[in-house]
Symmetry: C2
Subunit: 327 residues, 2 copies
């Protein structure tokens, strides 16, 4: 396996080295390629990502990504969105699961679900027009786009409790009927038990009854909003990883951003990045190694070998070292 | 003042009479016009709302609305959306404030903010095309639409802590730059202190730090999602009212739906509907009467003269009677 490693900006440069240390500890056969992308790179060269970078990434099987700071240039195209598009990463997968001993804003820890977000269309179509008095964006739903993300979600559901919740707003967006219908068809063809929810009711329900869900599938921006919201259930944006999955490639990134305010201090929590390594291992069929990361995280949480945000005194690097040693 | 009263379906037929009893107790000069709209009406006549109904409503100053059940007919146009559009109700106002002694999922009660949602455009433009393989909806942002909702939000802010948070997704939707820019201009021209947040970060932040906000202004569907989510902060969808405000008309509705599962049992909680009466009184300049409703609600909560969902044994009608007697 060939892995592109992109630290990016801010705390990306701290949490990714910690996560790589954990990955290295498994001694897998793995070739790593480092790329510098993002804000600092833009300052230096005038471009945050180039054609050449994309070619390099396409020469790899997977990407481990930290975070990039948004470039203050109106013509700037997001590095993240560029890569998602170029690699056709159609499913954005965000597990929402409590960590041992950590509770989020609701104090409950009886939930374990995964949000699967369509990652290539919807409001991210890029089809838009900007004017001084009127601007618009086209929200696009296709059968193909809906089908492949539904297939992915159903495959996940079959490995879990076999339950799928389809989230949409088809009472207002008649275009969402296509998404809903396709998801229903796919779920039924796989024998997956399914139900559906309106996105507004779902936002409420995820806060009130997060224990009710197993796999949730939804369109692009609804998944964006709901998954950030659900980080509050887990306790912090610093604790949730994500995977962007395509036919050929996979891309792993913590949900948090580059956090310039705490960057460079060695206090950034690397757990989301380390959980990205876990997702990478699962994706590449190394379930045993992935499970070991869970055990290592339980261990450091129990022993309080954690960063200040969780009440510990460890540095980012120390957390990486402890987890690496454990596995 | 002439008030259209629309109970609608399900528990709308129970909570609205209770709310009307409270309104009547003030002995204001007020002419009421009842309309039957919604599912039951559709079953009876084949139409959920007619041109004539709209003319009747336009002959009134304000509307008190319960809830309607969605009609299972693909050509059905939502009663709610029809009225919002016909009356040009451009600001959807949803206060998020704890009730005395009731805590929501986070257990905190140190927040008091208002979500002002643009209510006429965005993804609710109705401009869409549906096909078997591709469907789309146009998300429209106009200067005029953004300006008037921003004006409304700023007026509210000036009566409160003078703080406005503009919620958008302009890092992806370049069309949202228009909304953001216009809101900034309006806030600045009113001397309102403002900041902005991306909608995904905001969903997270509202759960983590709801105490940080005063007035929140956002586009249509973001407001839809965030305001339902925030009902979990308050404790229940059954406790949050909303106002839809236009230049000429105002329309008040509880955020909850028709809840067919509990309809007809006399157990529906009328507090959201009663809080709608409070908003109606505020809108018509009767601040003293509005404040009296707050005191009455504190009283019934303290004495546990409340419906079963809140741990009481009162019926919907009894709660209405107690509040009416108090005021
Ligand atoms: C940074 C932004 C373009 C991105 C998105 O909107 O998808 C982010 O919020 C995410 O969820 O990965
Ligand atoms: C019923 C539906 C059309 C409506 C909306 O989406 O605006 C509702 O969710 C609301 O928030 O009032």
């Amino acid at each position: 396996m060939k892995l592109a490693v992109i630290e990016g900006d801010g705390i990306g440069r701290e949490v990714i080295p910690a996560a790589v240390e954990v990955l290295d500890a498994f001694g897998l056969e793995l070739e790593k390629v480092s790329l510098e992308l993002g804000y600092a790179r833009w300052e230096r060269t005038g471009s945050a990502i180039s054609e050449e970078d994309i070619a390099t990434i396409k020469g790899c099987d997977a990407v481990l990504f930290g975070a990039v700071t948004t470039v203050p240039d109106p013509s700037y195209k997001s590095v993240l969105l560029t890569i998602r598009k170029e690699l056709d990463l159609y499913a954005n997968v965000r597990p929402v699961k409590p960590l041992p001993g950590i509770t989020g804003v609701t104090g409950r820890n009886d939930f374990d679900f995964i949000i699967v977000r369509e990652n290539t269309e919807g409001l991210y179509s890029g089809i838009e027009e900007i004017g001084p008095d009127l601007s618009w964006t086209k929200r696009v739903v296709t059968r193909k786009g809906s089908e492949r993300v539904a297939e992915y979600a159903c495959k996940l559901a079959k490995q879990r409790k076999n339950k799928l919740t389809i989230v949409h707003k088809s009472n207002v967006l008649k275009s969402d009927k296509l998404f809903l219908d396709v998801c229903r068809q796919v779920a039924s063809s796989h024998g997956v038990e399914y139900g559906d929810m309106l996105v507004d009711s779902m936002a409420y329900s995820l806060m009130m009854r997060p224990d009710k869900y197993d796999v949730v599938v939804t369109t692009n921006i609804f998944g964006d909003i709901l998954s950030d919201m659900c980080a509050a259930l887990v306790g912090s944006l610093g604790l949730v990883p994500s995977a962007n999955i395509g036919e050929k490639y996979a891309f792993f990134e913590p949900v948090h951003g580059s956090a310039p305010d705490i960057a460079g201090k060695g206090i950034a929590n690397p757990l989301a990045a380390i959980l990205c390594v876990k997702m990478l291992l699962e994706w590449s069929g190394r379930g045993k190694e992935a499970a070991l990361i869970d055990r290592a995280i339980s261990y450091i949480l129990e022993k309080k070998l954690i960063t200040p945000d969780l009440g510990g005194v460890s540095t980012t690097a120390e957390v990486g070292q402890t987890v690496a040693k454990y596995v």
